[in-house]
């Protein structure tokens, strides 16, 4: 039975409503296009943006003199030779303008004596990170952009639309096919230009710092449509994700802002500082970069010097109650509600999947290899190379979102609606309409199993044996998944949604794992225990595409589409 499809038509389709997607929608609409902004959950509330706790790196020069070229230099150094330099430059050069625009829109960057405050963060050569107190950067950015989206003519919004596949035209992308979660029906969206702003892939990991809707959807959509991905082996682990005691109502990356403002000491189970043994003496300050920090913690745990729950201690016992209150106000009460008193005991932290440096291969106009397909935000690969600096993610979301909105609008104005290639709409609608019982597969359990495999074998420490074992698990799960979704196909069928999520997650997990297997060196966030040093022949980006159903890695990039 083929379910009857609903239809929509728009100039620009934006998939994902984090900062990148919302900014893209605003810019495309301001350029005179009709925009459809869709999200698989609510508009402007899920994704990674809303979870951002504090820092947004930008060369404003409000605190000390600064210039985008210094921010650019720091970004390239952190990227360990792999940054796509034009993309990094765009991020750093356009950052200040986007941040001032957000300020005009009322985001409320923290100020002292009228000047925007900028905090020092690891890897930056001067105080460069703006923020909204207290731990409110992400919610404030999301809310500000939601308000502007609501005030901008020409943007239609649709939540509960989970994109299943992009719609291919003969030479590019002509829109997308979605599963409408609140009815169960397929929706065919015809669009002159499509922007993928779906964020990253942290949901592939057991311990992650983002929303459950960050399962790498956009990477899978782009790959299946024929675009290339780049540097997918570079998954950033945030070193000091909260581990214990149990803490709810707070994002697990919240200790980052605490370290910015208060320093703090990382301790092993002998209550000794250890980062100096990994080349970085912290001396009560927060200077260790994310790749080195994650490595140092994993190695302490491996050597039997970890904390009871398998991480290390982070102590703020040097701080007085008054100092804590001044820095974090009401957050201290939220900690107390979780029975955490930082003046008395340290907490336990451990690396947590946080950000994907790799992503869809795109140029500075956010164009991909496929005409009509653009990308924005974390979905784009390359700007941060092998390791991202603190604070570059929200900047990237804003800058790349704005640029993608403008480019897609230019493209859409010169384009017509393309018919689909004669098969992609039908195939997607058939898939959404189909159903097969799967008595042997608990979809939620399968996701958990995949997450454990990725965490243990494709996490901060990797080896051929571990990566190969992960590939076997991925293979087995892919077999169990079959080629049709289970469930009754009626509204909000979670088992069915899990199936579509697993379809994407297993593909993206395979890409990350295979890319990690091929890169026989250690660089940035990619640490191979069996290849502990950086190799000159690997100072190269690695591209991945699908050819004849196979994942094909290559050091050569595919040509990008012409820009309007």
């Amino acid at each position: 039975m083929i379910l009857e499809s609903m239809r929509a038509e728009t100039d620009v389709l934006v998939i994902g409503s984090g900062a990148a997607g919302m900014y893209a929608a605003i810019e495309a609409a301001k350029a005179g296009c009709r925009v459809l902004l869709v999200d698989r959950s609510l508009i402007g509330r899920g994704g990674a943006t809303v979870m951002a706790q504090m820092t947004v790196a930008v060369a404003l020069g409000a605190e000390t003199p600064d210039h985008w070229s210094y921010h650019y230099r720091d970004t390239l150094v952190a990227g360990r030779g792999l940054c796509n330099e034009p993309l990094s430059q765009l991020l750093c050069e356009d950052g200040p303008d986007c941040i001032r625009t957000m300020d005009d829109w009322g985001v409320g960057w923290a100020r002292k004596n009228g000047r925007i405050t900028q905090a020092m963060a690891p890897g930056h050569d001067r105080p460069r990170c703006v923020y909204v107190d207290f731990l409110n950067t992400g919610p404030a950015v999301s809310k500000t952009l939601r308000t502007v989206v609501n005030k901008t003519d020409g943007i239609r919004k649709a939540g509960d639309l989970c994109i299943i596949d992009l719609l291919r035209s003969n030479d590019g992308v002509a829109g997308a096919v979605a599963l409408h979660l609140s009815s169960g029906a397929p929706v065919i969206v015809s669009a002159k230009a499509t922007i993928v702003a779906t964020g990253g892939l942290t949901r592939l990991y057991r311990r992650n710092s983002a929303s459950t809707n960050m399962g790498g959807d956009g990477y899978a959509l782009a790959l299946r449509a024929g675009a290339s991905l780049v540097d997918m082996e570079f998954v950033q682990f945030f070193p000091i994700g909260h581990l214990a005691p149990r803490l709810v109502g707070m994002d697990p990356i919240m200790w980052d802002p605490f370290r910015y403002k208060l320093g703090g000491r990382l301790l092993n189970n002998r209550m000794e500082e250890f980062t100096q043994n990994y080349g970085v003496a912290e001396d009560g300050k927060y200077v260790i970069t994310r790749d080195t920090g994650s490595y140092a913690i994993m190695k302490e745990v491996e050597a039997g010097r970890g904390s009871p729950h398998g991480g290390v201690y982070l102590s703020f016992q040097h701080c007085s109650e008054a100092a804590l209150r001044e820095a974090f106000g009401p957050v201290i009460d939220r900690l107390a509600a979780n029975n955490i008193d930082l003046t008395k005991t340290p907490i336990e932290v451990a690396p947590i999947a946080h950000y994907q440096m790799g992503g869809i291969a795109a140029g500075v106009e956010m164009q991909t290899a496929l005409p009509g397909l653009f990308a924005a935000g974390e979905a784009v690969g390359g700007a941060n190379g092998a390791n991202r600096l603190s604070g570059n993610a929200v900047t990237e979301a804003l800058v790349f979102g704005r640029r993608a909105g403008r480019s897609a609008a230019l493209f859409a104005k010169r384009a017509r609606h393309q018919p689909d290639d004669g098969g992609s709409a039908r195939r997607a609608v058939e898939l959404i309409s189909s159903s097969a019982p799967q008595p042997d597969l608990n979809s939620a359990e399968a996701i958990q199993l995949l997450q454990s495999t990725m965490q243990d074998n494709v996490g901060p420490l990797r080896s051929r044996a571990g990566l190969s074992s992960a590939l076997r698990t991925i293979e087995r799960l892919s077999g169990a998944l079959g080629d049709r979704p289970p469930g009754d196909g009626r509204r909000f069928d979670m088992q069915r949604l899990d199936w579509f999520d697993l379809r994407n997650m297993l593909l993206v997990a395979r890409v990350v794992t295979e890319a990690a297997l091929v890169r026989t060196e250690t660089r940035g966030a990619h640490r191979r225990e069996d290849y502990p040093n950086a190799a000159d022949e690997w100072e190269n980006n690695q591209y991945v595409r699908i050819e004849d159903g196979r994942i094909v890695p290559s050091k050569l990039s595919a040509p990008l589409a012409a820009v309007p």
Binding site: L42, V50, A444, E445
Partner: protein, 112 residues
């Protein structure tokens, strides 16, 4: 002996034709209602529907349900070792199980 939280959950697609299902969830101090619901999906029944994005950060605000008749966020309300009754929001249109239509009308899909 491990303690248990007994979750009595409203299930169904139509408010007039629902049923109550009861699940025994291992209780651990500090766990939340959402932890319990996710445990049920993984260990007992993946068809149980609950809307959430941010897991435990209370950032997305999507997981509102009724716990013993009072509106709570499932991600911050704590699990307790007793019987707890979970129902969809009674002032919102039901979608399925614990999921209701909480988006403003202007943010819902309407074809064109």
């Amino acid at each position: 002996m491990t303690e248990t939280a007994t979750l009595k959950i409203w299930r169904g697609l139509d408010i007039g034709a629902g049923r109550w299902e009861t699940y025994a969830v291992p209780f651990e101090s500090g766990q939340t209602i959402l932890d319990g619901l996710r445990w049920i999906r993984i260990n007992c029944d993946p068809t149980l529907a609950i809307r959430f994005s941010c897991i435990n950060a209370n950032a997305c605000k999507e997981c509102m349900i009724e716990l013993d008749g009072k509106t709570v966020y499932a991600c911050t309300a704590r699990l307790q070792p007793r019987e707890m009754t979970l129902a969809p929001l009674s002032n919102k249109k039901l979608v399925r199980d614990l999921v209701t239509e909480i988006a403003p009308p202007a943010e819902r899909f309407a074809g064109s």
